[in-house]
């Protein structure tokens, strides 16, 4: 039984887009952001509505090739194309980018050249070593973003609103972390695909709506867990199935890029992820021991690093920690074609992790879908054989 039905997700999404249209017609600004490093708290505190734009498909990617070369990142191309096709993208009054990888840092210029939208570009040092000058510089950039956004919305800045936003998003992150931990159980209480859908809803809905939804989901999980403990075999849950436990890691996995997930879940449990649209989006809490802007700067600067950051050793540490905690047997390493930061790490990652890794490279085209299915099936089968041989579970 799904913890959240597809129809419920679809309804929430549809209603939210309608709501955004209405709010926007009343004068409030909708600000789109792309990346996990954008501090949505500042967007909210500036009086705008922040929505993450993390959708991509092949058609929009092809449309993006009007502006970028074919060998550009498929996600970046798709972002450009989505402004032609996706109602959510068309609702945005401004965009916030953080320069992360080279492709992403050049995207604002491409968007700016094609769309008449205010674009804010925030410079986050690529270097992840938390030296004081780097965090101070990032804080200065956030102050510039704050000023730019308040100009856009016409609202006066108020630190109390920022504190409220921090509390709201801290709660959202805490709830998502709690829900995600339900993947740890044997068998998992929640599917990997559901986690990704819930995370995607959390960046689309208003903070209040997101908190309500996540609280509700959390309660459903508690109830399920309780029933599982009290009943040997729950008719709703079915018999416990100990399927291979896999992790998915790699480049951004967008909301509508679900084919690999579906293939995996047909035979295995996705018990962990290392994705910016998954755990890296909600891990951690902003600690308010300094001024709120400095606290935000420190939090985002120190997030579990995307592979593009230098050095990115903490990414590997986090991967290894998840593998241990969640008893992961194999990793699906899914990268986007021409996504250098993630593709270049594949070989090293394979050596470091010491468990089977399946590398998949894609561009949303689905051209190799059947080949992919065979590879995934073979991979999972191998993990199953390992599981039997090791007498695990």
């Amino acid at each position: 039984m799904a913890i959240i039905a597809d129809s419920e997700i679809e309804r929430l999404r549809r209603e939210r887009i309608e709501e955004l249209k209405r709010i926007r017609s009343e004068g409030q600004k909708v600000v789109g952001y792309i990346c996990q490093y954008v501090p949505v708290e500042i967007i909210q505190a500036a009086g705008a509505i922040g929505v993450r734009l993390a959708r991509a498909d092949y058609l929009s990617s092809l449309l993006g090739e009007q502006f970028l070369r074919a060998d550009a990142c498929p996600f970046c191309k798709s972002c450009l194309g989505k402004f032609e096709t996706d109602p959510l993208y068309q609702l945005t009054d401004a965009l916030v980018f953080v320069n992360t990888c080279d492709m992403m840092r050049r995207l604002p210029e491409a968007v700016g050249a094609q769309k008449n939208l205010p674009v804010f570009q925030v410079y986050l040092p690529r270097n992840s070593e938390p030296c004081l000058n780097r965090i101070e510089e990032f804080e200065r950039q956030l102050a510039l973003l704050r000023d730019g956004l308040t100009n856009l919305t016409g609202r006066n800045w108020d630190d109390h609103r920022l504190l409220t936003a921090i509390k709201d998003y801290n709660l959202i992150r805490a709830l998502l972390t709690r829900i995600d931990s339900a993947r740890q159980t044997l068998p998992p209480l929640v599917k990997g695909s559901e986690i990704l859908d819930i995370v995607a809803l959390s960046w689309l809905l208003s903070p209040k709506q997101a908190i309500d939804l996540l609280t509700e989901v959390s309660q459903r999980l508690n109830a399920l867990n309780l029933r599982r403990k009290t009943e040997d075999i729950n008719p709703e849950l079915g018999p416990p199935s100990f399927r291979p436990r896999v992790m998915i890691a790699g480049s951004i996995l967008t909301e509508d890029d679900r084919e690999v997930i579906q293939m995996l879940e047909a035979q295995a449990d996705i018990v962990a992820d290392e994705l910016c649209t998954g755990v890296r989006f909600f891990a951690g809490q902003i600690e308010l021991d300094k001024g709120p802007l400095r606290a935000i700067a420190r939090f985002y600067f120190n997030r579990i690093p995307c592979a593009y950051r230098r050095p990115n050793d903490l990414l590997y540490e986090h991967l290894q920690q998840l593998i241990q905690e969640r008893r992961v047997q194999g990793v699906i390493y899914k990268t986007l074609l021409y996504c250098d930061p993630w593709r270049f790490e594949a070989k090293h990652l394979r050596q470091m992790l010491k468990i089977p890794v399946l590398e998949i490279d894609g561009d949303y085209s689905g051209a190799n879908i059947e080949q992919l299915r065979t590879r995934i099936e073979a991979f999972i089968e191998t993990l199953g054989q390992h599981q039997e041989a090791d007498g695990e579970f």
């Binding site: 070369r69 570009q121 270097n127 050095p311 090293h348």
Partner: protein
């Protein structure tokens, strides 16, 4: 001892061999790297054939300027690997500087007996050697095809035979391409010892704050070098390092002007002059002497109307350095010449403001970097020169899968069309081979034909 340059011309590999026989031995003995050392092992004035025997097979297909100064340049550039190993033997510190293309080498060079070099420049090696050995080595470490040829640097680190294992690796990242940042990341994993330096974006109206930020980064570099060498960097040492770097940059600027405005030096040699601003081919003193020699040759040629390129040839602006140097020869063989370039190293060509505190002056040039700003700004760097020198067309040589090429090529082309309205040819440089691939050849020929017909129409 008398030797006079022949009538300026672009000559072949074989012709250089014949010409070399006429150069007196005394003259050959005069040039040594790491002067004032004069040991016989430090001679470098050899004909291209010497380096072809040692593996630089592509030299057989290039055309060279026939001046003694250019021969000096070729010998010196081709000799760099040997020079770096010698530096180690002589007790000098060999410092790999990666990614920032220019500014960090100025700091390193301010320390006594520290030799900076850019592994980045090994991207030419697969082409020079007509070999994929370094690219294959990079692939075995995780960086395969459809990536910038700069991945050869990773292969060179893995092979341990192209340069000595550095005493320190400084890796700049930030406003850099993903390809090279990936190379740096894997070098860090391979060697386990990299000092990271952040290079920020150039953001409108924020120069002073970003300079302060960069100065803090550079202080960490200085500390690392002080720890390594046991020498404290004084203001005077840094000023002296900057002055020497500026001397190279001034000479380069004048040479570019003479080459691109008057055609007194071919594009290939001029490109090598430009890239000498990165790290002076690991020996700033001798490199400066070579530039002075080249400049006196160029000025002599101009004064006496002895041009190496036809002044009536088509005038081309070139964006992004071609990994295959044969492309530059190919264009010149087709009666065209370069009059403007943007080789992603503007930070190394910009003069450092000596009135500023040392590190701040260097930081300012870092922010002038070609890749630190927007694509439109980069296009403007080329357009300014192209207008001055009346370029008739722009060639953009890209790299398949290179992150900045993929993202900015169309933007730059669009910008140039809007602002300058001259034809643009864009192509990706093919992997190392013995000749320019047929498709690229046809496209360049067709492009030059278009420019020719446009010129006819105008006249």
């Amino acid at each position: 001892m008398s030797y006079q340059d022949p009538q300026p011309a672009r000559i072949t590999f074989e012709q250089w061999d014949e010409l070399f026989a006429r150069i007196p031995d005394e003259l050959i003995d005069r040039f040594h790297y790491f002067p004032p050392n004069s040991f016989s092992w430090s001679k470098y004035l050899f004909p291209p054939q010497t380096f072809a025997i040692y593996g630089a097979r592509h030299l057989r297909r290039l055309k060279f300027d026939n001046s003694l100064a250019s021969l000096r340049l070729w010998g010196f550039v081709n000799n760099e690997s040997e020079r770096l190993f010698r530096a180690r033997q002589m007790g000098k510190r060999v410092i790999a500087v990666m990614g920032d293309l220019g500014p960090l080498a100025v700091i390193v060079n301010s320390f006594p007996d520290c030799i900076p070099f850019y592994p980045d420049c090994w991207w030419w090696t697969p082409f020079a050697m007509e070999s994929k050995v370094l690219l294959d080595a990079a692939a075995s470490l995780g960086i395969g095809e459809a990536t910038c040829f700069s991945r050869a640097a990773l292969g060179a680190f893995a092979k341990h035979s192209y340069f000595p294992d550095p005493d320190l690796i400084l890796a700049a990242t930030g406003a850099s391409c993903d390809d090279y940042s990936g190379v740096e990341s894997l070098v860090a994993k391979l060697t386990g010892r990299v000092k990271w330096v952040e290079t920020p974006l150039r953001l409108s109206g924020q120069n002073e704050q970003l300079i302060r930020f960069l100065v803090a980064e550079y202080h960490r570099v200085v500390s690392a070098l002080e720890d390594l060498t046991g020498t404290r960097l004084t203001g005077t040492m840094l000023k002296d390092g900057i002055r020497r770097a500026n001397r190279v940059r001034h000479l380069t600027s004048r040479l570019r002007q003479l080459a691109y405005q008057h055609g007194v030096l071919p594009a290939l040699e001029t490109m090598m002059v430009e890239f000498g601003c990165l790290h002076y081919y690991s020996d700033i003193t001798e490199w400066t002497a070579i530039l002075e020699h080249l400049l006196s040759t160029a000025e002599f040629r101009l004064k006496n109307g002895l041009l190496v390129l036809n002044p009536e040839s088509l005038r081309i602006a070139w964006l992004t350095p071609p990994a295959d140097p044969l492309l530059l020869c190919f264009v010149e063989d087709h009666n065209a010449r370069l009059v403007a370039t943007e080789y992603v190293i503007n930070q190394a060509l910009s003069i450092i403001d000596e009135s500023l505190p040392g590190l701040a002056g260097i930081a300012r040039t870092t922010l002038a970097g070609s890749l630190n700003g927007t694509s439109a700004q980069r296009a403007e760097l080329l357009i300014t020169q192209a207008r001055t020198n009346q370029a008739e067309g722009v060639i953009v040589s890209g790299i398949l899968g290179g992150s900045h090429c993929a993202m900015e090529s169309k933007l730059i082309a669009q910008h140039i069309k809007q602002r300058h309205n001259i034809p643009i040819l864009e192509f990706d440089v093919a992997p190392p081979a013995k000749e320019v691939d047929r498709q690229t050849r046809t496209r360049i020929e067709a492009f030059l034909e278009v420019l020719r017909s446009r010129r006819c129409q105008k006249s």
